[in-house]
């Protein structure tokens, strides 16, 4: 038996009181830790996907939408731009490298992106099995796609039009899987990559179908389409182009130039994302203030709990003094009780926040094909531990002092 064990026994002997003072702390710590985790995980995801992209060029519209669609692949594209104009920009002397992106189809909700092989390098993607695409209708699959859909090399995919699962199927054209990518923890994981030609081809045909609605002979269409492609190269369109500058200085001047002088839109991802986070941040900040308030209230409730229990136990503490306990030992008992509760509250709060992260992650994965899983303890969470300990010390301060100053003789005479 020792003072620390006694503190634990005291807590266990009043489980409901302990739970009451704990629950508020768990709630406060849980909310803050959840916010911190989500904020950091989303930021990491966002930053990870931003590497090597200084500017995105696409059709006029909302710059944020352009970034969300072309960099994060979670929004609809702003529209298409002509390949010719895009290439003019990519030949500008300020541009270091550029990557074309073409959207149009999906397979089971996973986007099929027509792009150049440089796109895989951008995210440091590596082939796990097979090879990269060489010709039209060959696809390479991101790790999350093949894990979720359980597909392998040699399988054939029939894509659906649009970016949602419900789009009409292009049943006449199938893609063949020629390669699988290793996980990169970037957008690459959730994409199906193919050559730009595949997308031009399949949609060229599609547009053609629409133009000649009554013409149902596909073979004829296809031949016709191929002919057309060679004749009118300049009609081809792309959805967006990712650009890296030769020098970071160009990030200020060049996008403005494009926006003013062409009918294309240029957006800077880092700028748009920090704008997005500012909007987010307001909500996050408000929520964290509320959570801090809850923590303060929890400290108050802990104080009242300790104070009452100290009054209830004044005879037994006087008894302990007569048995040889020092003032310090009794004060330590109270402080231990408080600290055990707050540290327990911190641990359970963190546990709850992780469950929250898993929950949010599963929601995000369903709707956005993103997942966030990391169970690292953030630096800010060590601050929360400090805060919990501080709350524990502060709330036990007055009860511990009262115990320290307790007059045993008066307490015992007062029975």
């Amino acid at each position: 038996m020792n003072i620390f064990k006694l503190s634990i026994k005291n807590i266990i002997s009043k489980p409901l009181n302990s739970l009451l003072s704990l629950s508020l702390l768990i709630l406060g710590i849980g909310i803050i830790s959840l916010l911190l985790q989500l904020n950091s995980l989303i930021k990491d995801q966002m930053d990870n996907n931003l590497k090597g992209i200084d500017m995105v060029v696409g059709a006029k519209g909302s710059p944020l939408q352009l970034i969300l669609s072309a960099v994060y692949h979670i929004d609809s594209p702003t529209g298409n731009i002509s390949l010719e104009e895009a290439e003019k920009i990519s030949k500008n002397r300020m541009v270091g490298s550029s990557i074309k992106l073409l959207y149009g189809d999906n397979y089971n909700g996973y986007r099929i992106v027509g792009t150049e092989k440089k796109f895989v390098e951008l995210y440091k993607g590596e082939i796990k099995d097979g090879r990269l695409w060489d010709k039209a209708y060959e696809v390479v699959i991101g790790s999350k796609v093949y894990e979720k859909l359980n597909i392998k090399i040699g399988d054939e995919l029939v894509s659906s039009h649009g970016l949602r699962e419900t789009g009409e199927a292009h049943e006449d054209q199938v893609y063949e899987i020629v390669g699988l990518l290793k996980p990169t923890n970037s957008v690459l994981d959730q994409l199906i990559l193919t050559s730009p030609e595949s997308v031009w081809d399949i949609h060229g045909e599609h547009e053609h179908d629409e133009e000649h609605e009554h013409d149902e002979e596909h073979e004829h269409d296809e031949e016709h389409e191929h002919d057309e492609e060679h004749e009118h190269d300049d009609d081809r369109e792309i959805t967006a182009m990712l650009i890296k500058f030769k020098s970071p200085m160009n990030i200020i001047q060049f996008p403005r130039q494009i926006n003013q002088e062409t009918n294309l839109q240029a957006a800077v991802p880092s700028y748009e994302i920090s704008r997005l986070f500012k909007l987010f941040g307001f909500g996050i900040e408000t929520l964290s203030y509320m959570a801090y308030l809850i923590i303060i209230v929890s400290g108050f409730s802990l104080f009242i709990n300790l104070f009452n229990s100290m009054r209830d136990r004044r005879y037994e503490m006087a008894l302990m003094r007569t048995l040889g306990a020092s003032r310090i030992q009794l004060s330590m008992m109270i402080i231990f009780e408080s600290l055990i509760l707050t540290i327990l509250g911190f641990v359970i709060g963190l546990l709850f926040s992780r469950i929250g992260v898993m929950f949010v992650s599963s929601l995000m994965e369903e709707s956005l094909n993103y997942d966030l899983n990391s169970f690292l303890v953030l630096n800010e969470e060590f601050w929360l531990l400090g805060l919990s300990i501080f709350i524990g010390l502060i709330s036990s301060l007055i009860p511990a002092l009262q115990v320290y100053k307790m007059n045993i003789s008066e307490t015992l005479a007062d029975e």
């Binding site: 038996m1 020792n2 006694l6 026994k9 005291n10 266990i12 002997s13 009043k14 136990r313 005879y315 037994e316 006087a318 008894l319 302990m320 003094r321 007569t322 048995l323 040889g324 306990a325 020092s326 003032r327 030992q329 045993i408 003789s409 015992l412 005479a413 029975e415």
Partner: protein
Amino acid sequence: MVKTNGIKFNYDNEIFFEFPNVNLGKHENLLIIGSSGIGKTTLLHLLAGLIKPQSGSIELFGVNTSQLASHEMDKFRGNNIGLVFQKSHFVNSLSVIENLQLAQYLSNKKDSKRIESILNNLGIIDKSNKKPNQLSQGEKQRVSIALAIVNSPKLILADEPTSSLDDKNCDNVIKILKKQASDFGAQLIVITHDSRLKKHFNKSIEL
């Protein structure tokens, strides 16, 4: 070996007490008897060192306890004095045996054999793992006696141990106290207004 000399005490300069000298030799027990409000509990607390006299001296086993600092007194009390209160007090979150272990811990002792022999001697060994609130009144009184003697005190101070008991139980408790004191080689001082106890003591002081 309990000696007091001219001890005086007052509460807030209003209630003044002046106590007769106590002089107790080795192996002697003492009954201090007096009616309510005469300062019995005050005298017991003075002897136990829970309060200090304004003047006069208290000497226990060769130590002038009225000169000890408060933390020294805590240690001295833990090692040398066992207190039995009118009403039984325990650490309610601990079982009987854990209460006794805590008492030993607080005076830096550890002796599970002694705990066992005390509980056996008092006939409550089968209650070892019960919580205090699961005990009957008589069992509680025995446990509080066990708490008072677990650290082998040289002096047992009992404050009105029998006042709320009927004649039969009164005899019982005082016999247990005397037996425990002699079994474990301690001196017993009982402070009470209960005149039934007179016949059990050779030496008594009236306040």
